[in-house]
Structures are given as C-alpha cells and as structure tokens.
C-alpha cells in the first residue's frame, strides 16, 4: 500500500477564520487508488479542508500537493477554476445543480474543460462544434447509464428526488474524468437501501474509472465498509489515520466522539 504514489498530500495545513482555527496544522497523505474517509464531529473542519484542497479558500497556511500526471503540483498555484483540469472533481454538500437545465445538461457541465471548440464555433454551429457536442453527449449518457439514471436524461434536474440529485452530482464529477474525486457527505439524506447502493457504487467507480476517492461522511457504517483508510480529526486537528478497524478502537477517536469517560 505505502509504495503507491501519493496522490494528495496535506503538509502542515492551517486555516483560520477571524480568530477561530478551523484547521490546525494538519498532515495527511492519500495514495493513488485509495478510498479514504475523513471523519470527525460536526464543526471539526472537514468541509473547510475540502474547500482548501479545491482552492475555494486560498488563505490557508501550509502546502497542499496533488500528484498530477506530470508530477506533484502545489495546488496553491492553481486557480479555483483550474483544479478540475488538474484532475480533482468534487461534489457539494448543498448539491449545487442547475435546476432549470436537464439532467444530461447538468452532467455535461462536468465536461466543460474537455471541449475544444470555442464560443464562435458554438455561435455558428460549425460541423466541428456539432460533432464535439454529439461525442460529449454520448459520453454523458454512458456516465448516466453507469449510475442507472440514463432514462431520465431529458428531465429537468429540479424536482427530482434527493437520491437522484445526488447521483447527478456524482455523474457530473465522473464526466470530468478526474483522478481524484472528493465526495462531500455522499450518504447524507439517503435511506438504508440507497446507502447500500452508494456503497457498491463507490467501489464500482474506483474500478471502472480508476480514480482515487476522498470522502467526508458521518455514516460510520459506510465509512467502515468501504474505506481503505480513515482519517479522524477534531477541532481541525489530526487525531489518527489508520484502517477502519483500528480507528474504531483508537482511544483518542472514541474520546472525540463519545466524550471522556468520567470514571474516577
């Protein structure tokens, strides 16, 4: 395991919001092909870490390195709109989909950076633009099919059930052909059956699309089931990182979640 390439490295990362340290000197490494879970009580700083990795927050201290195809890249040098081109795609806790676009159009947004035709070609609908649109659509249908929702492709995203919306978000990230997918609470709001589906789905994604996966999750069952390793944090500080079984038995982690045992 440890001699695989590191794909994401956080080195002494800290992030402060007006006096409050949301992330506190965090060190963390993830390897290619791993499924890693990030856990911690609410407010522990998990989403902040994601936002730093994806460069929505640029004011963090420390270094975040991504193992791009041509070697490690310091992500701070990449603008927030360039992160997806490096190979990182993410979902959002608040499901940022475009309600008044069809499902397939939402997915196509994920492929935005893969288009080569420009605005003028689109304006005049050149043969090249038409062909590229056709090809991208085919690719989008494949992704939707993989997620089992291809039959819904022409419906508006708005008004779809929550489980479907989550799948659309995942489809959109897959469309970007990422090397690392970051999932922000993928199981939130799903029922048991849907969570089991998600479980299998995440494995399939790694298999079929050859990506590494980093996820924040509160559903311990999911995390323990599918993650190769789990990183536990609290108050923005690193607690432990190990296999799920060992993390469960880690006293620091237990204390963070359950509180100190008050026995004399």
């Amino acid at each position: 395991m440890s001699d695989r390439h590191p794909i994401l490295e956080l080195v002494d990362v800290s992030m402060t919001f007006g006096g409050l340290k949301a992330v506190d000197h965090l060190d963390f490494t993830m390897h290619e092909g791993e499924i890693v879970g990030l856990i911690g009580p609410n407010g522990a700083g998990k989403t902040t870490i994601f936002n730093c990795v994806t460069q929505f927050y640029k004011e963090y201290e420390g270094t975040i390195r991504f193992g791009g195809e041509d070697g490690p890249v310091d992500l701070k040098s990449v603008p927030v709109t360039g992160v997806v081109q490096q190979g990182i795609a993410r979902t959002f806790q608040n499901l940022e989909l475009v309600g008044d676009l069809s499902i397939i159009d939402n997915v196509l947004i994920g492929g935005h950076t893969h288009f080569t035709t420009g605005i003028v070609s689109h304006l005049f609908r050149t043969p090249k633009a038409r062909q590229e649109e056709r090809e991208m659509r085919e690719r989008a249908v494949e992704v939707l099919d993989f997620l089992g929702i291809a039959h819904l492709q022409d419906l508006y995203a708005a008004g779809q059930p929550y489980g479907i919306l989550k799948k659309i978000e995942i489809a959109r990230t897959l469309m970007a052909r990422p090397r690392l997918i970051i999932l922000d609470e993928p199981a939130a709001g799903l029922n048991d059956q849907e969570t089991d589906e998600l479980d299998a789905l995440i494995y399939q994604i790694r298999e079929r699309f050859e990506t590494s996966i980093l996820l924040i999750e509160h559903d311990m069952g999911l995390v323990m089931n599918i993650c190769d390793r789990v990183c536990a944090i609290n108050f923005g500080k690193f607690l432990a990182m190990d296999t799920p079984a060992k993390i469960q038995r880690n006293p620091l982690v237990q204390e963070a979640y359950l509180g100190k045992d008050d026995e004399e």
Binding site: F17, G18, T47, N51, F56, F92
Partner: protein, 291 residues
C-alpha cells in the same frame, strides 16, 4: 468664502434629500431584502397628492404636506402587503424587477390621475433669508435641514433604543431567526415600507419648490441616493447618510468649480471607480460566504 458657504448650504439641503431617500432604500433593503428602485417614484406620487390638494382646495403647504405623508404611509403599507409580501419567495433579481414594474405603474398612473401638467409646491417657509458672509441662507433651507437631520436622528435613536427598533434590526440580520424568536416580521416590513415611503415623500416635498412636481423629479435624487448608499455601504444605516452628504458636497463643488453640466457625471464616475476598488463602500463589510 461666500462661494464655499453657498455650496455648503446647498449641499446640506440636497444632501438631506439624498439621505432621506438613501435611508428609505437601506431600510427596505435590510428588512425586505429588496432593492427598491421605486423609492423615488413612490415619493413623487405622494408629492402629486400634495400638489393636487393644494391646487384644488387651497390648503396650506403644511396641511398638504401632512396629508401626503399620510397617503405615503398608506401607500407603503399597501405596496408591502399586496406586492412585496406575496413575492417573498421570489429570487433577488425578480424582486428588483418587481420594483421596476412598480416604477412603470406609478409613472404611467400619474398622467392618468393627475394630468400632464406639472404642479407647483411652495417652500415651507417662503421668502425670508439671512445673509452670512456674503452667502444667502434661506430660512426654508435651515428648516428643511433641521427637519431632515431631526428625522434621521430620530430614526437612529429609534432603531437603537426601542423594542420596534430592535425588531427591525433583528429582521434585518436574519428574517428566519427573527420569526423563530417571535418577532412580528410582517409588521416590521410594513412599517419599513411605510417609513421609506414617507421619507421619499418628504424628499420630494423638499425638492418640489425648485423642480416642480413632475414624474421625473426624483430621478436625480434617486440616482444620487443609490450612489450614496453605494459609497457609504448598504450594510449600515449611517453609511448611506454619510455618503449622501459627501456626494452632495462633491457634486455642488464640481458643478461650480469644474463644469455645470458634467459635474455630476464626473462625481459619479469617480464613485464607480472607487467602487471597483472598494466594492463594499466606505463603511460596508464583506460577508464571508461558506461553501
């Protein structure tokens, strides 16, 4: 010296009108989350009421002013109840568009209700003036400034020190929280619109003697009020007021020393440039958005 004093007196008066309008806009922005583009039009409409009462029944300016403030109060309540409240769930841009539609309705109604001729409204205190270091200071100007400042002072005091003022501040901070805490947000928005309408009307009444009552009388004040709010930042109440006086002074100075026609263009362009570098105005604060 005389020139500077004259510009000063003028700026205090026009600054007051801008401040009244800007405060109305800020109040509505904070409580209804709407940019009220129709602020000037509502004021104008009620100034017409004053005009027609004066013309038809010969009441004194004080009486018609009072009457128009009453109708302004009612106008504000009606607009909030029948148009703004039902639109609560609509997006921000759509709310702006509704107020644009409101402008069109009012501007279209005015000729139908009041005819096409402009109305005349006299000053509150006619004629008399005093000479200070070569500059004429009319008593009316003093009165108008005093009333405006007094009103704004009252407003600030009210918002800081009374229960209803607290209700307004809470609603302005977050309407959901306010509702959860039992604040009667419906009444708060009604009062806000009614107050804004009255302030706009007062601004119109002040401007009327020089400009006469016509559909576009407050367009200039409106634009200036928006710029004042932009300059001072809409997140506070004091900001728009400060911005108003700065703009009034800058405009009058530019008009006198630089160019009569292009004075205001110069000032506004400078503000736009300023805004590019300080998007939240002098006093505004940036809200940190969480992803």
């Amino acid at each position: 010296m005389a020139d500077i004093l004259r510009i000063l007196f003028n700026s205090l008066q026009t600054g007051s009108t801008y401040a009244l309008a800007a405060l109305g806009i800020a109040l509505i922005w904070k409580t209804s989350r709407t940019t009220n583009f129709a602020q000037g039009s509502i004021g104008t409409l009620n100034a017409y009421v004053a005009g027609i009462l004066l013309l038809s029944w010969g009441w004194s300016i004080w009486l018609v002013a009072l009457a128009s403030l009453v109708t302004a109060f009612l106008t504000g309540i009606l607009i909030d109840t029948f148009i703004i409240r039902p639109a609560a769930k609509v997006g921000a841009i759509s709310k702006q568009i509704i107020t644009l539609g409101l402008i069109m309705v009012i501007v279209g109604l005015i000729p139908l209700l009041f005819g096409v001729d402009p109305y005349r409204l006299p000053s509150f205190i006619p004629g008399a003036s005093v000479d200070i270091a070569g500059a004429t200071l009319r008593y009316n100007t003093v009165f108008v400034i005093a009333v405006s400042l007094g009103l704004m002072g009252f407003l600030f005091w009210f918002i800081q020190n009374t229960r209803w003022g607290l209700a307004i501040r809470v609603t302005a901070a977050s309407e959901t929280t306010a509702k959860l805490m039992g604040v009667p947000t419906r009444t708060v928005t009604m009062i806000s619109w009614a107050s804004a309408a009255m302030m706009g009307t007062l601004a119109a009444l002040i401007v009327a003697p020089q400009a006469s009552v016509n559909p576009n009388m407050l367009l200039d004040v409106q634009v200036s009020a928006f710029f004042a709010g932009v300059l001072g930042g809409f997140t506070t109440f004091a900001g728009p007021v400060i911005g108003s006086f700065i703009i009034a002074f800058a405009r009058n100075s530019a008009a006198f020393y630089l160019s009569d026609i292009w004075g205001n263009v110069i000032v506004y362009s400078l503000i736009l440039v300023f805004l590019y570098f300080k998007p939240y105005g002098l006093c505004g604060k940036k809200a940190v958005k969480k992803v």
